[in-house]
Symmetry: C2
Subunit: 271 residues, 2 copies
DNA sequence: GGGTATTTGTCCGTATGTATT
DNA sequence: AAATACATACGGACAAATACC
């Protein structure tokens, strides 16, 4: 039994793309042309294109045509390294609300911009309550930030703190401005809370509506997002901070380095 | 301007699913019933369902109907921890070709099975040559393994070694059997190569045909896969091993633990 | 095992709307 | 304003997979 026609057409086009006969950014024949090429109806040709769209090989632009998607040069975020590399502090990646992050981005030859934090007080629910070991409905502070790289939306980050910390005196947590020295050091100076360790959880899921809008992703969940949750603990093993970062999966990668690892030469970005 | 009808229908159904009116595994009304419900043509109803399919909210079974997808209890793989937890050795996760991995899986109350390694000699190309710092076309050994958990396909793993290691005497690398003590220790005993560190790179991409077949994923690239590349270095900073592991993104998560981190209570698996 | 009803999958044709050039 | 190209929506026909008697 043969493959359905729309799959054969998709397969033929896919082969033309992957062989390089159709390069990145090139326009495919129009639906009308494809219809004659493969002797199929326009709807069948469209079914083939839909398959290529969900495989992220092509994109359509109304009024223009169908195009082979452009490759994106991914950004690498280091979640952990114990090598003495670019950073003075111990915590890298998401931590410190931007200090280490900015250094890493510029090391990759790109320009990072952060939005002013938007601070909200909300009720802990679900993962937030679970990770911070709070009862559902307890008040928490959420500090939301948007990060742009080279002018493009790159990640959304929210850090949650139990309201208790503010009541104990860490009032800067509810102010909508940057903490230049980093939140970790601020909490140590203000309350004597020392960060003894942290735990990252890396997952992939479909973006919600807000995320799809901000990242300008197709609204049908084709492009997934990374969700990285970092829970920080004090010396008593109590969680006091949860950072949830969301990154579009089509333009981000993560790294972990342990022990003696040579520096990476700035590679020509294979994938 | 109003939303297109097929999106309104999809939105209405989505709301019914997320509100719990339609539970996991429940059957949706048939296309014919939906057609009457929303006073739309069958093709329009089908367009709405297609949208829900790419959002991974429902799945269709020919001859049966359309069903709300079941939630999968994800497996967590620890990429790195420096806490003294379940493992004697230092390297966790992908390392050791299964020693640490098996312990972690059973700690989550699941049963792990590994296939017998399939050993191939191939020519280094692309990422493999780049990571192992070999010229394109150099011979490398590839040890492929399939991992099942609770009888279900869970990950595909290939470890690459430069052929040079075999020529120096590490002949077990080309034998198609397990290395019970782990490859790291074997290389140290046989050749005196000590692992000084490693680097992980975590990416997400669409599965290729082999992967989609093995994992029984839909063949249109809706479900992404994690690709985790671990490059191991000796004391001279030379890479001597590259492990590429592929995991379906719908049933896997990753963890990194640094410093003092309390044990996680076996949570009821939120997501 | 066979036959039938049900349900989704594929493919066609047509008409009209919307976005872009 | 006109032409081009994709988006939405309708209708119909037959095939393939499954369940049930």
């Amino acid at each position: 039994m043969p493959e359905p026609m729309y799959r054969q057409i998709a397969e033929d086009l896919r082969q033309k793309i992957e062989s390089g006969e159709l390069g990145h950014g090139d326009q495919l024949p129009t639906e009308l042309e494809l219809r004659e090429l493969y002797d199929a109806s326009r709807n069948t040709v469209r079914d083939a294109i839909k398959l290529l769209i969900t495989r992220r090989l092509v994109e359509t632009r109304p009024g223009q045509g169908t195009f082979v998607v452009q490759k994106i040069n991914p950004l690498v975020t280091t979640l952990f390294t114990d090598s003495a590399t670019l950073l003075a502090g111990k915590e890298t990646g998401l931590g410190g609300e931007g200090t280490a992050y900015a250094a890493e981005v510029s090391a990759q030859g790109r320009k990072a911009e952060d939005s002013v934090p938007r601070v909200e007080i909300q009720q802990a629910a679900g993962v937030i309550a679970e990770q911070l070991k709070l009862a559902e409905g307890s008040p928490v502070i959420g500090r939301h930030q948007q990060r742009l790289i080279d002018g493009l939306p790159w990640s959304l980050q929210t850090t949650f703190y139990p309201m208790r910390l503010v009541e104990l005196g860490a009032v800067r947590l509810i102010q909508a401005d940057d903490m230049p020295t980093g939140a970790v050091r601020y909490l140590e100076e203000a309350l004597g809370i020392k960060q003894a360790g942290w735990r990252d959880r890396i997952t992939v899921r479909a973006p919600d509506v807000n995320e799809a809008t901000f990242f300008r992703l197709p609204d049908d969940g084709r492009v997934a997002v990374f969700e990285v949750r970092r829970t920080a603990f004090d010396r008593q093993g109590q969680p006091f901070r949860l950072t949830v970062s969301v990154y579009p999966a089509d333009r981000n990668q993560f790294a972990v380095k342990v022990g003696q690892v040579p520096d990476e030469v700035a590679a020509p970005a294979r994938d």
